[in-house]
Symmetry: C2
Subunit: 214 residues, 2 copies
DNA sequence: ACGTGTGAACACATTCACAGCT
DNA sequence: AGCTGTGAATGTGTTCACACGT
């Protein structure tokens, strides 16, 4: 379930504060969901709570980590070392738990050989070799839109079945390959959509109020 | 609906190729969805298609843009000019349609005054003033986790009701405020989850095959 | 004939409400 | 007494399949 990472983060925050046990009510509010949903989500992993008491934080952290596959390390390759690629490479959050940035690749010869986040940027021609030698299982695409599909295809053919795509294109991949997409301008457009609906509503209300006053 | 931006992008690509009319089947495959879903989504905006023919690309682009509120310009403020904030500031995709980066803010005095993407970074103390003077309606938070809630609260109190949050925390905001969250390590964790399920399945299959072979 | 628009069937997620354990 | 785990009810989103307009 897509909410497990959020629960995990909330639990780790509790753990850092030395809290040993937590009720579904508390954890749910920390994660921004309702308590029935949280209990149903957790019950999918098994019965890890104690009735009348709640959940043991440490045990639950371990169970969720295991369910998410964070007890093993995943090697990640980033292709496209522009502003965003650099930002990801330097983002400390990955290394902390379960993920290791194994390689940075770029098509631009001027980029190749530069050092980013204490890794040498290598030429994209080495993609297949790097995937094999580093055991890369997750590919991150931060290239321009035009290059993304080609990179995705190469990842897939090299055996990478998990792709995180930041390029604003719909990737075509075979069944069994998992693509997640992060699209910044789509997020903004969705915000604009809601903002406009709010504004429209205000307008209608104002108009209605005006009519009532006349 | 959250898929309209994807349709819009696909339509604009068709438009660039000089294509005037498109069927739900074609557009759906370009957007990576099924055609019934696309028709139902579009029917929510009104009856903009012609039976037996399809949709007129240009007209549909206009209707979706209008629905999304992209016919007006939205001023965006980015708080937290680290690697990610800089990447967003430099990302050209925003300016193209409907969004204008109106201000960059940071709490670090060493950062203030620097020029990023031809904008001067200003101190966070100016948040309220900038929101008012630039008419900011969308706030982007790329600060460390610890600072995010404070920034969000200041945005809300300044009248910003749309927030795009990159910090790995659940923001607490009043009803009526729209928060969207982009969390890179959550995306990776979800990929790891599926990757592990694949691996487990392979393992079981391998084991089963092994058993069958013995 | 072709492709949209849409009721009806379906699948899935959320919420309610409470039995049952501690 | 308190809180989990879960059947039942509800809501939401997806898919099917076809009547209807062009």
């Amino acid at each position: 379930m897509a909410r497990l990472p959020i629960y995990l983060r909330a639990l780790q925050a509790l753990q850092d504060r030395g809290i040993l046990t937590v009720s579904s009510e508390h954890l749910a509010s920390a994660a921004g969901v309702n308590s029935a949903k949280l209990r149903k989500d957790l019950s999918h992993l098994g019965s890890y709570g104690t009735r009348g008491v709640g959940y043991e934080v440490e045990y639950l952290v371990y169970q969720i980590s295991r369910e998410l596959g964070l007890t093993q390390d995943w090697a990640v390759a980033i292709v496209g070392i522009g502003n965003l690629g650099r930002a990801l490479a330097n983002y400390g959050g990955f290394g902390t738990r379960g993920f290791r940035i194994a390689a940075l690749l770029d098509a631009d010869p001027a980029m190749v050989g530069q050092s980013v986040a204490s890794l040498d940027v290598r030429h994209i021609d080495n993609l297949e070799a790097v995937v094999r030698s580093e055991g890369v299982s997750i590919g991150v695409i931060t290239t321009p839109a035009a290059a993304a599909q080609g990179v995705a295809t190469r990842f897939v053919e090299a055996g990478v079945a998990s792709i995180l795509n930041f390029a604003p294109v719909v990737l075509n991949v075979p069944d069994g390959v998992d693509v997640r997409k992060v699209d910044l301008s789509i997020e903004l457009q969705i915000l604009a959509f809601h903002a406009q609906r709010r504004a429209d509503g205000d307008g209608r209300n104002a108009e209605r109020a005006g009519l009532e006053l006349t």
